[in-house]
């Protein structure tokens, strides 16, 4: 189609807001009690950040890789693809991110986690907590059933929010940012077209994380780093 430029996002959005959010209810039911395992993974991530030493970096990368792969398969490939023709491509993107995280976890030079204390570290830690704690509550804030809660490690948005925080703490190389940032744009645009109040959350996180990353690079020596 040569006239793609004449299409707005609303022309291409092929599902309704209730259908989109019911996916999470169906997903939550289908994978239960995987949410409990996801919470444990989230707690392990927090512990890795707080500890910031030893094998924390490799552990965090490994756990995140598992979460990204899980979301790629159970959400994007198995469910979102059912209502969005782009779903398989999103699945591939999330799987690619999982591969990159695996590479990070297994390379000789382990990822080092910067201290979460201080403004930048604190912001990064806040992003992680946003994904782990705040995101599951957004459904209730939006007046939807708690059954539609988006849980870290199960749903894409909280997984990406927490990942942004970890990437900041890692001072991760640029290619690890690509898929998460792209998803922030895709998800934010989708939710805004659906008229969901949370549509600004992930794009806002992405912008702030990018700013923080550049500030961190400029002030590379301002934050203490811990090699693991």
């Amino acid at each position: 189609m040569s006239e793609w430029w004449t299409y707005s996002l609303s022309d291409l959005l092929m599902f309704s807001k209730p259908t989109y959010f019911r996916l999470f209810a169906l997903l939550n039911e289908a994978v239960w009690p995987a949410q409990l395992l996801a919470i444990l993974i989230g707690l392990a991530l927090v512990a890795a950040i707080v500890r910031g030493a030893g094998r924390a970096g490799r552990l965090a990368a490994s756990l995140l890789a598992v979460c990204w792969l899980w979301v790629a398969w159970t959400y994007h490939a198995q469910r979102y693809a059912g209502i969005n023709l782009a779903g398989p491509y999103f699945a591939m993107g999330f799987a690619l991110q999982a591969v990159l995280l695996c590479w990070l976890a297994t390379r000789r030079r382990a990822p080092s986690i910067a201290s979460w204390r201080g403004p930048l570290g604190g912001f990064a830690f806040a992003l992680v907590l946003l994904g782990l704690v705040v995101y599951p509550l957004l459904a209730a804030f939006d007046g939807r059933s708690w059954l539609q809660a988006e849980v870290f490690g199960i749903a894409p948005d909280p997984t990406v929010a927490a990942t942004l925080g970890i990437l900041l703490l890692w001072r991760a190389p640029w290619f690890l940012w690509v898929v998460p940032l792209l998803w922030c744009g895709v998800s934010g645009a989708t939710l805004r077209e659906l008229g969901a109040g949370q549509g600004w959350v992930l794009p806002g996180c992405a912008v702030l994380a990018l700013v923080a990353m550049f500030v961190a690079r400029l002030r590379m020596r301002a934050l203490p780093r811990v090699r693991v």
């Binding site: 006239e3 599902f15 169906l26 469910r79 209502i83």
Partner: protein
């Protein structure tokens, strides 16, 4: 109680609140058949209101949502509806329609309209679509948004010639590529053309609708409510006094009657996920239609109100 049970209960409560499910009683549906228009190339009569499936039927594997779609289609057929339109571009809509038709025992009144969308592998896509609909053949296949029409139109015409298809058409939406639409209407043996037309978007009145009359091409109208925008913006606005003259009890019916009262329009295809709305839409295919003077007044009043 499982998570699905709670969600199911919430959905059923919502449907009952909306008057769905068991409350569907298309009063008068059997007593007064819907207004029909002939397909010019064959003379076959079609009710002037059909059923679209964009967004509303793309519910994936959600069993409760599929059940709600079945209620919509059940109400549509009970009220005398025939034409259901879909596309491989509509996500899971084709599969949902196939599921729904099977549940309803494949209503014989169905007029199945679908599209071919990809730039390659037209036959494979058409066959995949047919399997999803679970029907032996389509009544109408259209080239979706003119995508690869030079490859697809000859294919569809061959299918028609061999008896594997009854009608051939082309589609566009929101005013795109009207120049090419006109050229194809002038040069190709089309049975149908599908365009966007509503009380505010009336460009097709200038060239396409008169040409359809001249070339004896049936016209399907998509986006009659601008994908819900018009009904949302008119919600809560009191109905004008003249609404009663044409038997309209809602803005949706007024908007639909405006469209189907154009003599060159064969069928409008509003989409809905609400069984009550399906019935309401079908009621627009009954009773008197606005004359030219009232059509002008509908345009003026709607423009004033939104």
């Amino acid at each position: 109680m499982g998570l699905a049970s709670i969600e199911r209960r919430r959905m059923l409560q919502a449907m009952l609140a909306a008057g769905g499910c068991t409350l569907i009683t298309p009063a008068g549906a059997a007593a007064q058949p819907p207004v029909t228009r002939p397909i010019p190339s064959s003379g076959e009569q079609l009710p002037v209101v059909g059923l679209g499936s964009w967004i509303t039927f793309n519910v994936g594997a959600d069993a409760e949502a599929r059940a709600a779609c079945a209620e919509v289609v059940k109400a549509f057929f009970a009220a005398g509806g025939r034409l259901i339109d879909s596309s491989p571009m509509y996500g899971s809509a084709q599969a949902v329609i196939g599921d729904v038709l099977a549940r309803l025992g494949h209503p014989p009144a169905l007029f199945a309209a679908d599209k071919v969308w990809t730039s390659t592998s037209g036959p494979a896509q058409i066959e995949a679509s047919r399997k999803l609909w679970r029907i032996p053949r389509f009544d109408l296949l259209q080239v979706h948004n003119l995508l690869a029409w030079d490859a697809h139109l000859p294919l569809l015409l061959r299918m028609k010639a061999s008896g594997r298809l009854r009608y051939v058409g082309i589609t566009t939406s929101e005013g795109r590529r009207h120049g090419e639409i006109v050229k194809l209407m002038e040069s190709q043996p089309l049975d149908f053309v599908q365009v966007s037309y509503n009380v505010l978007d009336r460009e097709v009145e200038q060239r396409i609708l008169p040409l359809a009359r001249e070339r004896r091409i049936a016209v399907i109208v998509n986006r009659p409510f601008r994908q819900g925008e018009l009904t949302q913006r008119l919600a809560g606005k009191p109905l004008p006094a003249w609404a009663g003259q044409i038997g309209c009890g809602s803005w949706a019916q007024i908007l639909l009657k405006f469209i189907v009262s154009h003599p060159d329009v064969t069928c409008a295809i509003p989409a809905t996920s609400n069984p009550q709305h399906a019935l309401e839409n079908m009621r627009a295919a009954r009773g008197p239609l606005p004359d030219q003077a009232l059509r002008r007044r509908i345009v003026a009043d709607v423009q004033r109100l939104i």
